[in-house]
């Protein structure tokens, strides 16, 4: 694992804040991701356990009966877990360093040509954010024309996942470099899903940067594993110690509680802090 960024004060921690109150479950983030990242599709995609969706929108229910039932959508990209010092659940188990934690950006990468398809990382990820290419990617005749050269098409037999549109970071950095800059503006690097979301529910930026909206929205406490300062903010499965970089905001307690596992008598807010 590369540790260059470890002591770099300017190290970024790119992360996402998703406002679940605004999220309408329209699925634009999912499709924007598929379109940006050359995600393949096959005839039947209704088996969601075999359907590559780097960004997947889950539908949560409050478990109450009619008419007290309530639902909430929850978009789930890769959480880009920092774990403990970059030992995210998946990175630490990959036998061939095909997935790596970048300490300069906080992004968990996936190197398609390195991966040999052992799928240990998938077993390690509690978010089911990792997808295996069970099939050869096949596009109908003519459709390969729309494939973007920025992201390589993946071959059968390897694992892929959300990269926080890392190629966009590279393109933005290239542009900044040509203009003699080393730092990016907040709006220069945004993921495809953030850009597409018609409800403006997704915010993306550097969690370490107090000028960035993501930082202001959730006030992450880096001394305590990045836990959010905002009482309406939460992360998925925080108690496992995965230290994810995707934060959610909801005004509904049942939604916030659905983000993690709690014993029947536990108070969520006490456990979180």
């Amino acid at each position: 694992m590369k540790e260059e960024g470890k002591h770099n004060k300017k190290a970024k921690k790119y992360g996402m804040v998703i406002n679940l109150d605004n999220c309408t479950g329209c699925g634009a983030c999912m499709v924007a991701c598929m379109a940006e990242n050359n995600v393949p599709f096959k005839e039947d995609e209704s088996d969601k356990l075999d359907s590559i969706t780097w960004m997947r929108v889950y539908k949560l229910a409050n478990g109450e009966s009619y008419p007290d039932a309530d639902i909430c959508y929850l978009p789930r990209p890769c959480m880009h877990c920092e774990g403990y010092h970059g030992h995210s659940p998946c990175v630490s188990v990959c036998p061939a360093v095909a997935t790596d934690y970048n300490h300069d950006t906080g992004i968990v990468s996936q190197i398609y040509t390195r991966c040999f398809g052992c799928r240990y990382c998938m077993g390690a990820c509690p978010y089911h954010a990792r997808y295996f290419n069970w099939w050869d990617p096949v596009w109908p005749e003519g459709m390969t024309k729309y494939l973007s050269p920025n992201v390589s098409a993946r071959m059968r037999g390897i694992v892929e996942k959300c990269s926080f549109c890392f190629h966009r970071h590279q393109l933005a950095m290239d542009k900044a470099f040509l203009e003699g800059r080393t730092e990016l503006e907040e709006n220069e690097y945004q993921t495809s899903c953030t850009q597409a979301c018609p409800a403006g529910a997704i915010t993306f930026g550097d969690l370490n940067n107090p000028h960035h909206k993501v930082n202001q929205m959730v006030k992450p406490d880096n001394k305590h594993g990045g836990r959010p300062g905002d009482p309406n903010a939460f992360r998925l499965l925080e108690r496992l110690g995965t230290n994810p970089k995707v934060y959610y905001i909801s005004s509904k307690e049942w939604v916030r509680r659905a983000g993690d596992n709690y014993l029947a008598n536990e108070d969520r807010t006490v456990q979180q802090h």
Binding site: V31, A32, A35, E36, P67, P140, G142, M143, R154
Partner: protein
């Protein structure tokens, strides 16, 4: 040389060891893995020059600005256009997948002539010249027999140059039968006509409203211009504005609203009138409305017929909720009541629209900030009058086949009546043009529609895709898709402002297709005479430029043109006798089918992830559909667990769904968010045409429901149908 066993072994072992230290095995190993990285069947997208082209999406009536990313002459991504007045950078699933439609194998790649039986799928490729002369020949024949009025066209909308070219063509040719795909806008237009005496579109100043009372409108399920409504919804959330959703099912809109009030479906108008009663009784109505004509009789009507208790009984909502809802609605500073179920793709009951409009009038928000506006149609199409020859003059005076303007004097087009009229022999068509629409899929009782089509001898489709209607036509003259063509897009979907967008060619046409505007002009020219003279332009592009005049440059520059000032048609709201008569005779739309054989009520629901109009879901979008909506090849019917228990149905099992109009095999999805006794099916599934990614998946709701004529408008008022669900 004698080789001993020992030397042989030494040779083998030495050879093996020697090979191992050469680069050979390592190189081979590396090559093998590199080969696996570049399997020839895994495409490597070529790099090239990057560029962005702004255009406007035409995949739904929403009219969003799009920014198309290209690499050389290939479209690689479609994004929302920043600063576009409708969608301000946002985009929906369908717009995002536009490039899949561009490169789709289901596209019709050249003019096709049917060679087998209709619908058999046997086609012959023909040239454009042949295709045009084929149509012209047929139309000349019909015209020479004096049957010009028996030619009709079905077009997606009635504003913009393309629909108007079709209208003009029919007029010059001599037929009144210009039909459009129905939507809630038809009912809204008629409401404005009957209650304000104006000819206008309904526009909603949603962003400025502070209390939104929605009678089943899928605000975030695709109602109006979808992306614009998503944004409005977020604005409401950010500013603490309230949304109350009234419908029997916990839709996404209901879930995201501040309050969901389940209601017995079909009784929304009664609720609106009941709310009106409370508002009037509490004197919360505006001063202005009490001076409007007919107010007293309206007051009498709601006080006598729509007492809170009675409304409570009709709607199933408790009295206290009705009273408190009326109070909060009327005391909000900018309340807005809207209707049009789901995405508003069916017109619905006129009384419901009028009752809801009356609510807006009561709280005085018509043509006010945050209210409902009567928006004039953009009047940029100012073509010279058509010189009609004798045939045409006779033809256009004939009665329309669908009864619009005659049986139903207020209606302009009643496509919902076409199937019945044709099938019962009350009317007939000799030829039919279909463009930008897929009526064989998206009209209620699509089987009856198909039957009607079967009796029309000559059906011409202008579809870009091999959709249901195209595959049941005689001739296909494929249009460019929107990424290949010019078109003006006057946005009508509930915007409070006139906006025209410009769709423009982003890439050169992929196949031998033609802009439908050019095609219709070529047909006119081939017919000659006064018909040809009605189209003095060299090409559609020339026509468009001329029509838009000064706006053209603005459109090319900005991608859109919008009225600098919001205009409204001033028409005072009154309870005119016609509207009052209708409201007085109001009774909920009765459902087809008997309670005994069909104990349940089936309603449709709309999802933004399911396109249910002319365009079907492209592969990306169908992939994004949840497994509780589409599971394998089966659509999932939402059933309340209580109802499920009574029927002995468990989650995920197959069931057989019967309605008086059809049947389907479905899977059961137990959902706590639906009223017991009601079951819901998604719209947008069950295509038989298009590609394998869409065809044969789920069932088409329109095969299960039939139209119900609204007594006043003649439009389709059906919102559901009785049904039976049994174990398989």
């Amino acid at each position: 040389m004698k080789v001993g066993r020992r030397s042989f072994l030494s040779f083998i072992i030495g050879g093996a060891a020697g090979t191992a230290i050469t680069p050979l095995p390592w190189k081979l190993m590396d090559d093998a893995s590199i080969w696996s990285q570049n399997w020839p069947w895994t495409p490597v997208p070529p790099d090239g020059e990057y560029s962005y082209v702004n255009s406007v999406c035409t995949l739904c009536p929403g009219g969003c600005g799009i920014s198309v990313r290209k690499v050389d002459d290939r479209v690689v991504k479609i994004e929302g256009m920043k600063g576009y007045p409708v969608n301000a950078g946002g985009i929906c699933v369908l717009g995002l997948s536009g490039h899949q439609l561009l490169y789709s194998p289901t596209r019709v790649k050249s003019p096709l002539k049917r060679v087998g039986k209709r619908g058999e799928g046997k086609w012959e490729k023909i040239s454009w010249d042949e295709a045009i002369s084929e149509v012209a020949k047929k139309l000349s024949e019909i015209r020479s027999k004096g049957e010009s009025h028996s030619v009709g066209s079905i077009v997606n909308a009635d504003s913009g140059t393309i629909p108007n070219l079709f209208k003009r063509f029919l007029t010059a040719y001599g037929s009144p039968n210009f039909m459009t795909m129905p939507s809630m806008q038809d009912s809204y237009k008629m409401t404005l006509q009957l209650m304000q005496g104006v000819n206008a579109q309904a526009g909603f100043d949603a962003e400025n409203a502070d209390f939104i009372l929605s009678f089943g409108s899928g605000i975030i399920d695709g109602w109006g211009s979808p992306v614009r409504m998503f944004k409005a919804n977020s604005t409401w959330k950010a500013n603490g504005k309230k949304v109350v959703q009234i419908e029997p099912r916990l839709s996404n809109t209901a879930a995201k609203s501040d309050k969901w009030i389940p209601i017995k479906p079909g009784t929304e108008a009664a609720l609106a009138l009941g709310l009106a009663n409370v508002i009037i009784t509490n004197s919360q109505h505006s001063q202005k409305i009490s001076q409007s004509s007919g107010f007293e009789s309206f007051k009498k009507l709601v006080q006598n017929e729509y007492s809170t208790d009675k409304v409570s009984q009709i709607t199933g909502i408790d009295s206290a909720s009705i009273v408190s809802l009326a109070k909060t609605f009327a005391s909000a500073s900018k309340p807005l009541a809207i209707c049009g179920r789901g995405q508003g793709s069916t017109p619905g009951s006129l009384n419901e629209f009028m009752a809801v409009h009356a609510l807006n009038a009561l709280v005085g928000n018509i043509n006010e900030q945050g209210g409902v506006w009567a928006v004039p149609e953009v009047d940029y199409i100012k073509w010279p009058e058509v010189n009609l020859d004798e045939t045409a003059t006779n033809g256009v005076q004939k009665e329309r086949v669908d009864g619009a303007g005659s049986e139903y004097p207020h209606a302009k087009s009643l496509l919902n009546r076409l199937a019945e009229v044709v099938n019962s022999g009350d009317g007939s068509l000799e030829a039919l043009f279909v463009t930008g629409a897929n009526p064989l899929y998206s009209m209620p009782d699509s089987k009856a529609m198909k039957k009607a089509f079967d009796s029309i001898p000559f059906v011409v489709s202008f579809s870009s895709y091999m959709d249901e209607t195209a595959s049941n036509s005689d001739l296909i003259l494929p249009n460019h898709v929107c990424l290949e063509r010019y078109e003006d897009v006057p946005t009508t979907a509930g915007l409070q402002k006139n906006i025209i967008g410009l769709t423009r060619p982003v890439v050169k046409p992929q196949f031998s297709t033609k802009n439908v505007g050019d095609t219709i002009m070529l047909i006119a020219k081939a017919l000659g005479g006064s018909i040809a003279e009605a189209f003095p332009w060299d090409s559609y592009e020339a026509c468009l430029k001329e029509t838009l005049g000064a706006k053209w440059d603005v459109l090319v520059e900005n991608g859109f043109w919008s009225d600098s000032n919001s205009k409204t048609v001033s028409g005072e709201f009154n309870f005119y006798p016609k509207a009052m008569e209708s409201l007085s005779n109001f009774s909920p739309v009765s459902l087809e089918g008997s309670t005994a054989s069909y104990p349940l009520v089936l309603i449709p629901y709309d999802s933004i992830r399911l396109a249910n109009g002319y365009i079907g879901d492209p592969p990306f979008v169908i992939k994004a559909v949840e497994d509780t909506v589409l599971n394998g090849k089966a659509a999932c019917v939402e059933v309340n667990p209580k109802t499920g228990k009574e029927l002995g149905l468990t989650e995920g099992r197959y069931a057989s769904l019967h309605t008086p109009r059809g049947k389907a095999k479905v899977k059961v999805h137990l959902y706590e968010g639906i009223m017991p006794g009601i079951i819901a099916l998604p719209r947008g599934l069950g295509h038989t045409a298009y590609d394998k990614y869409l065809a044969g998946k789920g069932c088409n709701f329109n095969e299960l429901i039939g139209p119900a004529e609204d007594p006043v408008s003649g439009l389709d008022a059906a919102w559901g149908i009785r049904a039976r669900l049994t174990k398989v």
